[in-house]
């Protein structure tokens, strides 16, 4: 068994070396306010995960859930594409557009499909750790609910090794 394990390790090392690469990821933890005609739905907590498919373009997926405004159970889940660019060594700008789903019986969300955009800034507070603020909009195209969003929170970034 030990010989087999060593052989597998050796094989892995040989195969990995020429194929290795890195992939950037950012995880966002934030609090979000719905602004404008929010019909009482005021605050949510959210989590988004960005996976970079090029140095600036990323794929994003995440979810946000109501915490204030007596809309317990309201939530959104969305995915989309974004673009980010450094403004200086510690400041980065990004923007993203998403499509997703959400709803609650107290709002007119149509069938539940939603579109969302966000843009914002994040500032490095420590290695791989950022504070960020974002502004955006959220709309249920088949319903009658549209708000602007203001989000603030923290983000962590890291690169992971990939083999292809």
């Amino acid at each position: 068994m030990k010989i087999i394990s060593l052989a597998l390790i050796f094989s892995a090392s040989i195969l990995l070396t020429p194929l290795i690469g890195t992939e950037r990821h950012i995880e966002h933890f934030y609090y979000e306010n719905y602004l404008g005609d929010n019909q009482g739905l005021t605050g949510l907590i959210g989590y988004y995960h960005d996976t970079y498919i090029s140095p600036h373009v990323y794929f994003t997926v995440g979810t946000a859930w109501a915490t204030t405004g007596f809309h317990g159970g309201y939530g959104t889940a969305a995915l989309g594409l974004g673009y980010s660019a450094p403004l200086n060594a510690d400041l980065e700008w990004d923007a993203k557009v998403m499509v997703g789903a959400g709803g609650h019986f107290l709002i007119e969300a149509g069938g539940g499909i939603l579109t969302q955009w966000q843009t914002g800034l994040r500032h490095r507070l420590a290695d791989h750790f950022y504070g960020e603020i974002r502004y955006g909009g959220l709309n249920y195209p088949n319903g009658n609910y549209s708000v602007n969003t203001l989000s603030y929170g923290v983000a962590v970034d890291y690169s992971v090794l990939t083999w292809k």
Binding site: Y47, T67, G73, Y74, G102, G111, H128, T162
Partner: protein
């Protein structure tokens, strides 16, 4: 594209980041109408040997008309050895939840959860956890002791590591994420259908066998707020160079459409996919399958389109 993994029992270096995923079953001792059973996942990412941050999502699978009740949260926790194979663990979470006829119970949705318990390592990768705790919705009336148990899976990836210093113990791992659109008949009597979008995340344990998670939410019909989550397992492979086939089953929870047909939320699903690899990373497929609420009255065929995305990560394994 080759779907495959190289498995080995090798040491993990200090440059690897530990993750523990738990398939959770949780019991609420009280609510405004009896006890509630929950199923879901926690995902722990370790910041050092014992401290981790957590993401969690659970949805109702038991109780009286609790379909659609769900809670998601994030927090911090610890896992500390106390004896060979035994660890003391705990977590504090802030979250949000609601649905399942718990409007008064959850109020605005904000929740706090406190848990502590024991974790037993069956082997370096798999283990079992049991914990006691408390769940509190400060804006609502739901305040309950909870007990949780679950199967844990520990794995490692390499973060912020220099690519020139590829760890010798690294192994290759494959995951496939599919972004899905699917439809099913929500009400057999009226013929009402709804469409969902979501995804499935498959983690391969052999070149063809995988397990993972699935999640969906309604985008058309009149059931906005309807969601599904499931633990999935199946077989996926490639034949004739570019054709993909995939067979799987899932067990999980659904609800939020506001109809008692959803029962207590527990549901099972099956699917069969046939697709085409557009590139070595992307594949397009079509699925047909079934879904059934075990204690409800929704049983339907399912069909839809899937866009697959393959991820190749380098991971570690423990001694």
């Amino acid at each position: 594209m080759a779907i495959g993994v190289l498995m080995g029992t090798v040491p993990v270096t200090s440059s690897s980041t530990q993750h523990v995923q738990t398939i959770v079953f949780e019991h609420y001792f009280t609510s405004d109408n009896g006890t509630i059973g929950m199923g879901g996942f926690t995902f722990d990412t370790f910041l050092n040997d014992s401290l981790f941050y957590r993401l969690s999502v659970l949805e109702a699978v038991g109780g009286v008309n609790r379909a659609g009740y769900a809670v998601a949260g994030f927090g911090v926790g610890w896992l500390t050895p106390v004896a060979p194979r035994w660890n003391w663990t705990g977590a504090l979470e802030v979250g949000a939840g609601g649905g399942g006829h718990l409007t008064e119970g959850t109020g605005g949705g904000l929740s706090f959860k406190y848990q502590t318990g024991l974790h037993y390592s069956i082997n370096p990768e798999w283990g079992w956890a049991v914990s006691m705790g408390w769940l509190d919705f400060p804006d609502g009336t739901l305040h309950t002791p909870i007990v949780s148990t679950g199967l844990t899976w520990r794995h490692w990836d390499y973060r912020n590591t220099d690519t020139d210093a590829v760890p010798k113990e690294a192994i290759k791992s494959v995951q496939v994420l599919t972004l899905d659109h699917k439809s099913f008949i929500y009400n057999q009597d009226s013929g009402e259908t709804i469409s969902l979008i979501g995804g499935r995340f498959r983690k391969f344990i052999t070149p063809t066998i995988y397990w993972g998670e699935a999640g969906y939410a309604a985008i058309s019909g009149k059931r906005h707020g309807y969601i599904e989550g499931a633990l999935i397992g199946g077989i996926r492979s490639i034949f004739m160079d570019r054709l993909v086939w995939d067979l799987g089953v899932g067990i999980g929870a659904g609800g939020g459409g506001g109809d008692s047909r959803e029962g207590d939320g527990l549901m099972v699903q099956t699917y069969a996919e046939l697709g085409y690899s557009l590139t070595d990373r992307w594949a397009l497929s079509y699925q047909v399958g079934t879904m059934s609420f075990v204690n409800g009255d929704i049983n339907s065929t399912v069909s839809g389109l899937n866009l697959g995305y393959t991820l190749w990560s380098v991971q570690g394994a423990a001694k």
